[in-house]
């Protein structure tokens, strides 16, 4: 993998992001209603709405708004949230950190759990362990987050058990234990569907690798099974697993919207729903751009990891 390749990939990412901003801006511009109406709600008189529109700059035409927005971004200024009267960068920045911590924990635990599960299932193909993992993964992959979250709330956080807080957020800097107890349910909800998906993918990759010629060759060299799995099979099934995980980041970024809403996690997803409901365009724009960037970068990073794992890609 050359520097030129990386630069080209980064340029492609930027190109993609330009398409994204333009598309999103176009969509948000034609959303019915605007922030002024939403802010004042049912107590807004026509005069008050007009006054607020003037103050928020909503009376200008869309391309002026778009270009001033793009200009702002290029100079690092994401503008002012229409609804929250705070700089977008502050609002979105805080939310991003919170989302990142939740998504990061979910992703890391998923990776730690799903890959061994998939490997275990592949090695023990056709056994009870495989069946149990298979059943789990199908159930996991078929439950939307809001169902999982609701059932977890009902049983784990409900009055019957009350093991965990039913939602909310404690910053890591305030209390590590508080953060941990609050992050468990949302992270579990997010993680379940991904664990199911990734372990299934790893299982099929691993099964394919295990039935490959070079694994047969390795075994016929008299190597012990442990070495065959660890040294020969795993590295070859990890690269596809990384690709799957990076694609699932996109899914995670979607799932986080629902999970944050239910568990009162002050992250991007909840902010996005709030911004959508209030037609807070600068915030919608910034979040979409941010999520698309994260997604694109995660794909880029996964490509780099795959290149490290698989020498064929590295020198291609």
């Amino acid at each position: 993998m050359t520097l030129g390749y990386l630069v080209r990939r980064l340029l492609a990412v930027i190109l993609v992001l330009i398409v994204v901003t333009f598309a999103v801006f176009a969509i948000t511009m034609i959303l019915p209603g605007n922030a002024a109406v939403m802010i004042l709600g049912e107590y807004g008189t026509d005069e008050a709405v007009a006054a607020l529109e003037r103050r928020l700059g909503l009376d200008k035409s869309w391309y002026i708004q778009y270009f001033s927005w793009v200009k702002g971004i290029l100079s690092g200024d994401f503008g002012q949230s229409l609804r929250l009267s705070l700089p977008v960068a502050d609002v979105v920045g805080d939310a991003f950190l919170n989302s990142a911590s939740l998504a990061g924990i979910a992703l890391i635990s998923v990776t730690i759990i799903a890959i061994p599960l998939g490997v275990l299932a592949a090695i023990n193909r056709g056994t009870v362990a495989d069946l149990v993992i298979g059943v789990f993964s199908y159930i996991g992959a078929s439950m939307p987050e809001f169902v999982t979250a609701t059932l977890l709330l009902l049983f784990l956080a409900g009055p019957a058990l009350g093991l965990l807080p039913a939602g909310g957020f404690v910053a890591l800097t305030e209390s590590v234990g508080g953060f941990a107890s609050h992050v468990i349910l949302p992270a579990t909800t997010l993680g379940l569907i991904l664990t199911a998906h990734i372990s299934r993918q790893v299982r099929s990759e691993m099964s394919e690798v295990l039935s490959s010629d070079y694994i047969r060759a390795a075994r016929l060299k008299g190597l012990r099974e442990r070495r065959v799995i660890r040294r020969h099979a795993l590295p070859n099934s990890l690269a596809p697993a990384v690709a799957v995980i990076s694609l699932d980041v996109g899914y995670l970024l979607g799932g986080i919207i629902v999970v944050e809403e239910i568990f009162a996690w002050p992250g991007l997803g909840r902010l996005l729903i709030y911004a959508l409901e209030n037609r807070d365009l600068p915030v919608i724009q910034a979040i979409t751009l941010l999520l698309a960037t994260v997604y694109a970068l995660s794909n880029l990073i996964s490509d780099i990891i795959i290149a490290i794992l698989d020498p064929r890609v590295r020198y291609a």
Partner: protein
């Protein structure tokens, strides 16, 4: 029955799918009560002989609501997938057969759209369209389109270099014959497999939108909405959320299992 459907997983998929499809087609006729009828005397009750799955906050029969909700829930998934797959396939086939700069431009735009996480994309569109079942369906379809276009394109590309297609081109067959008779019939396999799994996904997204208040709207009996409406009451009667929640999971699981079995049965490595 193909071998892949004779496995436990495939069989379970078929059984679940037939249950779900039966409910989708005949559910409203099998329902014991009017799904909207109030039974003020028996609110938030658990299962009983009168109400097999219990009742909700208005005393409406959960089983009847579930059965009436099946068509909207299932056809949401099928409908949005069909539209998404249809439009996506057309775009993908165009890109795949045209090649050259048309292909390049289409692929770049698709890449741009694929960079937006699916649910986020759906949310934006549905907010733009104004919420509601039809709008949500369209939004999911639009969100599915880029991904399906990619799959259709790669399927077409892999078929396009098959020797029988080359033979047709070498014969000088008109391009519509090559695309419609030689390429498409053989490229639909992966597309069908992918769409059957996508249906599960669409059902889940549809329910999620209903849950977020952006999809189906009351008094619809769509299952996601049922969960959303019942959440307030879940500690008083867990059945109100469990029944539609489990139904969504079962429907999605049916399509997932079916899709996987379909994939296995079309996969030459597995069928030998």
């Amino acid at each position: 029955m193909p071998k892949a459907f004779r496995t436990a997983a495939g069989f379970t998929g078929i059984v679940l799918l037939s249950l779900v499809m039966t409910a989708a087609f005949f559910g409203p006729f099998m329902a014991p009560y009017d799904p909207q009828a109030f039974h003020p005397a028996s609110r938030l009750e658990g299962p009983s002989f009168a109400h097999f799955l219990g009742t909700d906050q208005f005393g409406r029969d959960l089983l009847s609501r579930l059965l009436h909700g099946a068509p909207s829930t299932i056809f949401f998934g099928l409908g949005s997938t069909c539209i998404g797959v249809g439009v996506g396939s057309v775009i993908g086939v165009i890109a795949g057969t045209a090649g050259g700069w048309i292909d390049s431009v289409i692929m770049r735009v698709l890449d741009g759209l694929l960079a937006v996480p699916e649910l986020l994309f759906t949310l934006l569109i549905v907010t733009f369209l104004g919420g509601g079942m039809g709008q949500a369906m369209l939004a999911v379809a639009v969100a599915f389109t880029p991904g399906m276009a990619r799959i259709a394109r790669s399927s077409v590309l892999s078929i396009r270099t098959r020797e029988y297609v080359l033979a047709a081109i070498a014969r000088g067959e008109p391009s519509h014959y090559v695309v419609l008779r030689e390429v498409l019939p053989n490229a639909v396999g992966p597309i069908i497999v992918e769409s059957s799994i996508r249906v599960a996904f669409a059902i889940m997204i549809g329910a999620t939108l209903g849950f977020l208040g952006l999809g189906a709207q009351p008094p619809s009996t769509e299952w996601g909405l049922m969960v959303a409406e019942a959440r307030q009451f879940m500690f008083r009667n867990a059945w109100t959320v469990a029944v539609p929640g489990v139904a969504i999971a079962l429907a999605a699981m049916g399509f997932n299992l079916f899709g996987d079995a379909l994939r296995d049965s079309l996969d030459p490595r597995q069928s030998q």
